[in-house]
């Protein structure tokens, strides 16, 4: 395997929180990156600098700091377009996060085009944010929601997709590029080419993928793409919806209000140009600018290096963890098909208990259903433990996690 080019030691110095001590002076070992990542000082400083030096509303005034703020905000749009290789900057819409992005599509595209009897296809390993908006929509329209199943290896059963596409009723197929529980990377090429043959629209939830691997929108070939800033070193409350321009041009507005209009009269309004038609009200200016700093940071590391580091760490963790007696690890062992997310159960100890016990060692992992209750039902578990890695995690972190599981064994006399 190609060894990583990241200097993890240098990367760690950029994250003030990693020097923190918790629970009786233990160093913080943060392994909940699929939930949210920590922020480097470059991002924190960028946000502080905006508030300290050029805080102003954007797109409106002509004075100096308003111009500076507008420029910094719009520059981030260019950075996003470059980062995901989006063809046009006006296809990038800033939203609160992946959840809002998907709701925007369900509202502005779905309410216009989904009719009674239509089918929307999602998958069993989706986050609730890629299930619930569609449930709301199909209920309103008398349409139907169907699921691509997950096999015992944690991969999608694409024959299910064939079956639904054959009905001729499918209008949208929506799936995550990487599962937030299993780490499985979806077989995008196959899914998209099947959908394209039948003219079906596709939405990709990239929340877990964009932070961890190279994502190229043009290559993917989807129609909608959503992701969040806070899972990739950026601040919370900022995310991106990308929509292919031909599709975006046919969509109705999401929120009505300031900034999204061209002219407002008593009973008629005309809309602003793309993408502003979909960005009503004063946006999250500071965090968009902070997100730009996060993109700069990741670009300077190189996403291939990020991916390689996580493959190396995941390989190490899977090898070591699978040797522990009583552990059950979910998902594929094929590193080319998975990201750095490891869900597991340990004997019959409830994940909530495990997370509490290892928290005493300063280790932060997630326990619960990970907003993926449909998948929990499929796995026939109420919950799992989940360790997820990022650029600042080390093999030592993995070793500490494994040692802490030994403490669980002792306490529970396993």
């Amino acid at each position: 395997m190609q060894s990583t080019k990241l200097s993890i030691e240098n990367v760690r110095k950029d994250f003030p929180i990693l020097t923190r001590r918790v629970r009786d002076d233990k160093p913080l070992i943060y392994l909940d990156n699929a939930s949210t990542t920590q922020k480097p000082k470059q991002v924190i400083d960028t946000i502080t600098n905006y508030y300290n030096n050029y805080n102003a509303n954007i797109h409106r005034s002509v004075y100096s700091i308003a111009e500076e703020a507008t420029e910094a905000y719009e520059k981030t749009r260019d950075k996003v377009a470059k980062f995901i290789n989006a063809p046009k900057r006006e296809e990038i819409i800033f939203v609160r996060g992946t959840t809002e992005a998907i709701n925007l599509v369900a509202y502005s595209w779905g309410r216009k085009y989904i009719k009674e009897g239509d089918i929307i296809v999602t998958t069993e390993y989706e986050h609730h944010s890629n299930i619930v908006p569609w449930q709301l929509l199909v209920k309103e329209k008398g349409a139907k929601l169907e699921y691509i199943g997950v096999d015992d290896n944690g991969e999608l059963i694409l024959e299910h997709l064939d079956k639904y596409l054959a009905t001729g009723k499918v209008k949208l197929v929506t799936f995550s590029l990487m599962s937030n529980v299993l780490g499985t990377i979806s077989d995008v090429d196959k899914i998209i080419s099947k959908c394209k043959q039948t003219g079906v629209k596709t939405l990709i939830d990239g929340a877990q993928a964009v932070p961890h691997m190279i994502v190229d929108i043009e290559k993917l070939g989807c129609d909608f793409f959503a992701f969040s800033g806070h899972k990739m070193l950026g601040p919370t409350g900022i995310g991106v919806l990308w929509v292919r321009k031909e599709v975006l041009e046919t969509m109705d507005p999401f929120h009505g209000g300031g900034d999204m209009i061209r002219e407002v009269h008593k009973y008629e309004t005309t809309w602003n140009d793309l993408p502003y038609k979909f960005e009503a009200g004063t946006p999250n200016i500071a965090d968009v600018i902070g997100f730009g700093a996060a993109l700069d940071y990741l670009s300077s590391l190189g996403m291939e290096n990020v991916r390689n580091h996580e493959i190396e760490l995941t390989k190490y963790a899977l090898e070591k963890m699978s040797k522990i007696k009583g552990i059950k690890i979910y998902g594929t062992k094929d590193l080319s098909k998975r990201g750095g997310v490891i869900s597991f159960n340990f004997h019959d100890v409830h994940p909530h208990d495990i997370a509490t016990i290892i928290d005493r060692e300063g280790i932060a992992i997630r326990s619960g259903h990970h907003c993926a209750q449909v998948l929990m039902e499929r796995l026939e578990v109420a919950a799992t433990n989940r360790a997820s890695f990022y650029i600042y995690n080390t093999k030592d972190d993995v070793d500490k996690l494994i040692q802490s599981l030994e403490k669980v064994s002792v306490l529970f006399k396993l």
Binding site: V349, H350, H352, D353, I357, R360, A382, A383, F412, K413
Partner: protein, 148 residues
Amino acid sequence: MSDPLYTEIIIDEARNAQNEGTIENPDISQHDSNPMCGDSITLQAKVDHNSISDIKWSGDGCTICKACTSVLTQLAKGKELDYAKNLKKEEILSELGLEYLIKQSPVRIKCALLSLKVLKLGLYSYLAKKLGDSNSFDSLKEEAANLY
């Protein structure tokens, strides 16, 4: 090795949890869950001459949740409804040495008290339906809602 939360008493109580199961034709049947952590408990009970003649629980929860549910069912079984109505959270917690959770762990206190919340809600539904006068039991419903 010892742990302040995972004492032997708690682990043993959860491992050998009492009154797990279901009741046919129960007089009280109530379910609730903690949305954040996924603990999920159903309580069922038979009422005989104003007393809880039988009580069983089913569902899934962490060690803390199971241990407290086991203790709760043992305390309530065979007692008058009034006893169950007035059961205080401190009584459940003290059986397992968990009173400190109230102040120290806003997250785990929910695991500990879920079944008590379910019991109070179940009693409320039962009494309100039976006596057709829900207003006089509003305090019970309120107590359940504000238990943690």
